[in-house]
Structure formats: C-alpha cells, structure tokens
Amino acid sequence: MFAYVVRRLAAAIPVLIVASFLAYALVALSGDPLEPLKLRNPPAPPRTIELETQRLGLDHNIFVRYWDWLWGVLHGDFGQSVQSNYDIGANLGRSATVTLRLVLVAMLLALVLAILTGVLSAVRQYSRFDYATTFAGFVFLAMPSFWIAIVLKDLAVRYNRASGTTVFYTIGETSQNYESMSAFGKFGDVVGHLVLPTIALALISYAAWSRYQRAAMLEVLNSDYVRLARAKGLTWRKVLVRHVLRTALIPLVTVTALDIAGILGGAVITETVFNWNGLGRMLLNGVARADTNAVAAWLLLAGLVVIAFNVIADSLYAVLDPRIRHE
C-alpha cells in the first residue's frame, strides 16, 4: 500500500512540472504587470521602471524566469510579487487555511446530505420523497454557484431586516470587532459568517453526489448477493448498512475525490461573492495584476491538492473494497 502511494506521488511530479510551466507561461504572456506604472501621468522615472523590471525578473526570458521560480519554490521562496509587500508563500498558507475551512465544512455537509437523501431515495424509490429530492437535486445542479450565493445573500439580508437582528453576514470571514468579542461571541460570529457560503458551496456538490449515491444504492440493492443475504435471514437493517451502503459508497468516494478541483473552483466563486480572503481572491488578484509568481504558486497548490485527493481516493478504495486490497 505504501509503495503504491509513493509510486502515485512520484508519477505526479512530472505532471506538476509541466502543468506549472504551462500555467506560468500563460500568465506571464497574458499581460504586463508594470503597465500601470508605465502609463502613469505624470510618468514614472525610467529608473523606477528599470528597478521594477529587475525586481520581478522581467528582463529574463520565460524559461529563465520559470527556472528561477521553481528553484525558489524548492527552497521555500515563492518569488517576488508585483506588489512588493505581498509575501506569496505566507499568503498561500493563510489563504489555503481560509479556503480549507470553507471547503471541508461544505464537503462534509454535502456528503452527509447526499448520502442520506441518496440512500432514502433509493430505498423508497418513486416515493414522494424520492421525487422531491430528485427535483431539488436537478434544480441545484442547474444553478450556477454564484447565483445560489447571490440568492442566499438576498434572503439573508431580508431575514435580518425583518427580524431586526444580524444573524447572517454577507461579507468577510469575521466582523470588524471580532477581536473584542467573548469566546461565545466569536463562535457565533464565525458561524454567522460561515453559514451562507457553506450552504452555497455545499448545494452544488450535494446535487451531483446525491444522484450518484441514489444510483449506486439502487444498483446494489438489486444485486444477487443482497438477495442472498436476505434469503439467509439477515435483517434488512444489517443488509442495508453492512452490505449495500458500504459497496454503494465506492462510486461516491471516486466522485468526491475527482470533484475536488470543481469544489475548489466553486470555492473561488463563492469566496469572491462572500468576500472571503481565501484562495479565490488570491487567484483573482494575481490574474488581475498579471502576478505570474503568485498565480503559479496558486496553481501548484491546486495541482497538489487534486493529486493528493486522487491518491486518497485510491487508498480509500482499498479500505472499502477488499478485492483491491488483496490485489
């Protein structure tokens, strides 16, 4: 198992290098980070432009710049940002923590909802509950995440205004007076800020995952070994939990791991709409400023996450499916 994981990780390295170079080159060629400086009126002194060109390494060709960046990354230095004060490495870590909090909670919520509704829909196929969740699933599947986010914000503002309280917040991760709050107050504040973006992000994944879970459950429920288990006198609950659900979880594990890139994409949008200072804003600011080093660092992290989750999915297969473990 360990050797398998190491092999998978080793195979991912060339993929990461090629992908990061392509991303680096695309961003580097997409715009001039010094354009605002060059087009100032009154003009910036030529020496200032020269100094900035040197600081950002723009006087080298793309291959040298990429190599310098990669060498720096391997030594823990993510290079200079267009904004001289911006520490790319520190911001990557901080942004990732913010996003991770959102993504993990949203994934957990989506998974719990998807498994529950998927199982119940399959067990009670063609019931009112099944029709209702199927309908809801397709509605959420069809909605763009930013639209769900905007609708949720509007509903939250209406609720706050109607109740005369501020239960839900529409911008940021915490309130401006967060530091002066009591521990209980801080908890409430974090939850108040977390609830809307989490729901917005979770609903997108929930929609697809609940459909997968329902389909997988139906397939297993109609299989011969389930009938055999029932014929042998096992209780329905035991069959459902130990034999059906466990097998039916395998496709969901695959989908969840493969969806990580999509969830990160959704998080970028959700974070932007709710004004979270996470990976989403880091990427958008980086692209807007033509900040090649920052965007490349972001993409490297995103690539690592996707690879890591794929490896985790493969490992979980083995846990859930003894046939793979024995191979």
Partner: protein, 579 residues
C-alpha cells in the same frame, strides 16, 4: 495616468477660495439646515454639502475595493487610489484634491497659503504651523520636506523607486529656517515648474526615516524608503492613526492623540476591503458597511437609488475616455479622412449606450486638458464638428478630398481601399460597445473597420500597434505637466505621433507662463483648439464617480479627485440627533 489606477495620484490645482470654503464648512460648528444635509446640493456646493453638527463617538465602516498595495504611497508600486484613500488620514500634505476639483490648502499643516517669492529661480516658501507634530510628538519640519525631495528627485537616491519624481527632479534645494518651521524650496536655474502645488502631497517622517537609515547617503535613503513601504505605520501626521490591519480584510484607524487640529468626531474608522462589487449593496443593506465610493455600474446604481436612508451621488470624475488616431497609419495620415471619421462618430450615441445608461448628466467632452468642472474648461471640439454624427459633413469632407466609393467601399484618391483596425481593452464592455458603434458608423462611410482587443494596452500604445483606439486618461488639476506629457511632440506618451509646430510652441509657452495660472491655461486652450482642428484625439466623456453614505453620517461628502472622500475624516461624524 491611464485607467488602471482609477484616478491620478497627486492632484490639485489652485484656488484660495476652496481653502476658505473648506475652512468655512468645518463640521460641527456649522448650523445644520435641511438644504445642507445629504448629497443633493453637492453639485452646486461641493465643499459644504451634507454639513451638520455631529456628536462625539461612534464608528464608520467604509467600503474599499482594493487592499493596501504598499505602505509607501509614492513608492515604485505606489500610486493606488485605495491606498491613498485609506492612508489619507495619517499622511500630511500641503495641498490635497478638494471636492470642487481644485487644490485645497491643508490649513491644519501650514499657517498660510505658500508663496512664490521669486520666479528666477522659482522659489516657494512654506510656513508650517508651530503646533504641527507627528504622533510621537516630534515636530513636523523642513526635514520632512527635505526627505521627500531627496528620496524622490532620482539623484540623491537613484535606487529609491518612486511612482513619480515630477517636480522634485527640477528642485535645486529644500532648506529649513525658523527651527525648521519655514521651508524654502528653490528650483533649478532656468526651470519653471507651474505645477508646484503638486509637491509635498505625501510627507513621511524624516526622523523615523533616520532611524531606519542614514538620510545623508543614497544607501541610507534607500533603506528608509524601502522600510516605509514594508512597515505598517505606527506614526501619523494627520487626525487618525492605524490601530490594526488585517491583510485583505480591513484597516482600522483611531484618533491620533497628538492631532492639533479640529477634534475628531468618530472613535473609529474601519476600511473594509470588499473586492466583489456585487457585495456592495447587500452589505449596505445589512449594515456591514456604512459608506463607500465604488466604481459604479448600472445594477449597483439602480439598487442604491432604491435604498432608503442613504445619501448617494453620481458625479463626473477625472478619468475621461477618448478615441485616438494613429497618425503614422498610411490612411489616417490624411487629415481629411480623420475629419470625416471624427465628424461621423456619434459621441452622444456612445454615451447613451455606455455611462448614459445610469448617469443622466453624462455629456460629450469638449477639451483635452480640462474637465467641465474646471474654471478653465472651454469647449474646443464642438466647433470642429467632431462627434456630432454628421454623416453628410463627413461624406462631403471625403468627396472634397478626392476619395471615391464614399458610403459604399471607400477608396483613397490613389484608388486604395480604406481599411482600419480599431483596438480596445479586452473585457471592457463600454469600450467594446464604443468599438461596435464606431464600426457601424464607419461602415456608412464605406470604411471596412475590424475590431481587435488588447490585454496589454501599454505595449499596444507604445508600439503604435493600432489605427484607432479607445482608452482613458486621468485628468489632473496639475494640468501643465499633463498637457506637455500627453500632447508635446517629443513626448513618449504622444502615442499617435501628432505634431503641429504652432500648437507645440503655444503649449510650451503655456507651460512657461504657468506661474500665472489663468494665462497659462488660456495658452493651453489655444494649443488644444489647434489639436481639435487636426482631428487627432476625439474626447468622449468623463467617467462617473459614485459616492454612497448612510444618511446618519455628516460632513462626509463626494470627492472625485485622487484624494478621495477621506480628505476631511476629522469632520466625519454621526448626526448629533441620530440615535
């Protein structure tokens, strides 16, 4: 400056009157009347609208679209509008951009209007108030002026990158007397700098610089200059100082206890960094922000106009859109063709499709150096017929010049089909609409025009890789340096390579005469009229600025200059009668 930083940094123009008016409107002492409250009267009385008595205490959450870019607002990566607005309450200046688009004198810092005591060499004397001190109690003196001069003149510290050395590079010396409270700035012999009021708009504390590096050496200056960029200021020379900063989230300012001017009203000013424009209105409704000056769009303006309990105002900004012709293009070299194109373009139609959808006051711009709010504004474009959608006049100009196929497939007098390429910034919907409208217009003249976007506007302009192009300049009340920079025949920013010897001579005369501002401005208008007749650059419209504030807050008012609305934070406060 072109569009990227929303408004030009550094600003200002003149008018002692603005200083008097600002002094007169100083917050709490004024008697509030209904007509003074709100932003409705801001067009007529920009310096006194929304004036009223405030109560002590309270806070405001102010919306900002961008984070602090650098703590050194005039460093190499400085010059950002949002940074300047947030730092406005702590960095002292001699002049600032006032809401009436003129230079406002910072009468908290200086005793009187600085005087030009000599014109040869040009010498300006500033008298600093004896009570003016930094937040650690160190007096603000000529040393701070001298530090700005030495760090930014590019000679004393060649590697101190600055976003602008303009003016500092023609100063000979900055000396102090009277315990440093009198500053004498002397320009180099033979150099006239009419925009001298743009100098010393951002003063950094020399004594703190000294602690970071020896101010008498280039290496020491560089050290302190860089330190100012990287270190969150613990100092202040204004009414507020920084209490805390969370990157990408908020900057919190509290009153500077050593502030010597009018006592601050608010206990806290929180600049909330909100990068998503669509969040502005819900956050206002939800009470998460109380005021801001976001870049407007039709959805935002419509939603805000439907809100109760908020003051809001759209007004013309300093940024203006225009269409430029590249005079090195083989077709556009011909003035007759340019005349036809400019006459045929429907500027009002472009406005109706773009900013006019949410700003009813938008109208065609008629000058290349001044905006309509300037006392020197003179429409020099209308009389040329440019921008009037005059298709018949355009066709006549072409026919008279010997062009054939007018209205069908235009050919030069030499028989060559006329084809042009129009460029605009990628993703800019207003410019895309402008390009489409121009394309449709030129088709009626028989010109086949293709549209091509660019994501590197600077390179496109620099390399002359365009026939026609739409973009924006940001006007500045320091109009002399701007005019010479944009239209001078030898300037690198004269991207379309327009040369008119007569106009160039008058332009230079205007700059030389600039110490008499009215005379200089008149000469600039004369040169501008010649440029308009050459059909080189067609001004389109001013871009609007938008200001919104909860009605409970008084003495906060729109300011479309690069200084922004935070020019008078010490006066901001909650209405004395508000709950």
């Amino acid at each position: 400056m072109i569009t990227s930083p929303r408004r030009a940094l550094g600003l200002v123009a003149i008018a002692t009157a603005s200083m008097l008016a600002i002094t007169a409107c100083s917050g709490g002492d004024a008697t509030p009347t209904e007509e003074l409250l709100g932003f409705d009267s801001c067009a007529k009385t920009p310096l006194t609208c929304n004036t009223g008595e405030t109560k002590a205490g309270g806070s405001i959450v102010y919306y900002e679209e961008q984070d602090i870019a650098t703590w050194n607002t005039v460093g190499a990566d400085g010059g950002h509008y949002a940074t300047s607005v947030m730092m406005g309450g702590l960095i002292p200046n001699v002049y600032y951009g006032a809401p009436d688009y003129k230079a406002g004198l910072n009468s908290d810092l200086v005793v009187e209007e600085p005087k030009v005591t000599s014109t040869s060499p040009q010498t300006v004397v500033y008298k600093i108030k004896p009570e003016a001190v930094w937040s650690d109690g160190t007096p603000i003196t000529a040393d701070d002026f001298n530090y700005a001069f030495r760090a930014r003149n590019t000679k004393d510290c060649p590697d101190c990158g600055t976003s602008s050395s303009s003016g500092y590079d023609v100063l000979q010396s900055v000396t102090g007397s009277d315990n440093g409270k009198t500053v004498t700035a002397t320009f180099q012999a033979g150099k006239t700098y009419p925009d001298w009021k743009s100098l010393f708009g951002e003063l950094y504390p020399a004594h703190i610089a000294k602690a970071a590096g020896d101010n008498s050496t280039p290496a020491g200056l560089l050290k302190s200059w860089d330190a100012f960029g990287k270190t969150q200021p613990t100092w202040s020379g204004g009414p507020y100082m920084i209490e805390s900063y969370q990157e990408g989230q908020q900057l919190v300012e509290v009153p500077n206890p050593k502030w010597w001017g009018k006592k601050q009203s608010l206990d806290k000013i929180i600049f909330k960094i909100v990068t998503d424009q669509s969040s502005f209105v819900p956050a206002l409704q939800n009470g998460e922000i109380n005021a801001g000056d976001p870049q407007p769009n039709i959805d935002m303006v419509t939603q805000v106009q439907n809100l109760q309990g908020f003051n809001q105002k759209l007004s013309g900004g300093l940024s203006w859109e225009h269409i430029d012709a590249n005079l090195q293009n083989k077709f556009l070299k011909d003035k007759a063709l340019r005349e036809a194109i400019f006459k045929a373009i429907d500027v009002q139609g472009i406005i109706n499709r773009t900013v006019g959808t949410f700003w009813k006051d938008a109208k065609p711009l008629g000058n290349h150096n001044f905006i309509p709010q300037s006392p020197y504004y003179k429409d020099v474009v209308s009389e040329t017929g440019a921008g009037k959608a005059d298709l018949e006049g355009a066709k006549k100009a072409l026919t008279d010049a010997g062009y054939t196929g007018v209205g069908t497939a235009l050919k030069t007098p030499g028989g060559e089909p006329v084809t042009l390429r129009f460029r605009h910034t990628e993703g800019n919907v207003n410019r895309a609409a402008t390009a489409e409208l121009v394309q449709a217009t030129l088709k009626q003249l028989g010109i086949n025009m293709t549209i091509q976007t660019t994501n590197t506007l600077g390179k496109t302009l620099d390399s002359g890789d365009f026939d026609l192009i739409v973009y924006a300049w940001v006007n500045t009340p320091f109009f002399f340096q701007g005019a010479q920079q944009l239209w001078g025949k030898a300037s690198d920013s004269n991207y379309g390579h327009w040369v008119n010897e007569q106009a160039d001579t008058i332009l230079n005369q205007g700059v030389q005469a600039g110490l008499d501002e009215a005379k200089g401005a008149d000469l600039l208008n004369q040169a501008d009229a010649l440029m308009a007749k050459d059909y080189y650059v067609l001004p389109l419209f001013q871009r609007p600025n938008f200001m919104v504030s909860k009605a409970d807050y008084l003495n906060i008012r729109p300011n479309s200059t690069s200084t922004g609305p935070t020019f008078n934070t010490e006066e901001w406060g909650l209405k004395a009668t508000a709950n």
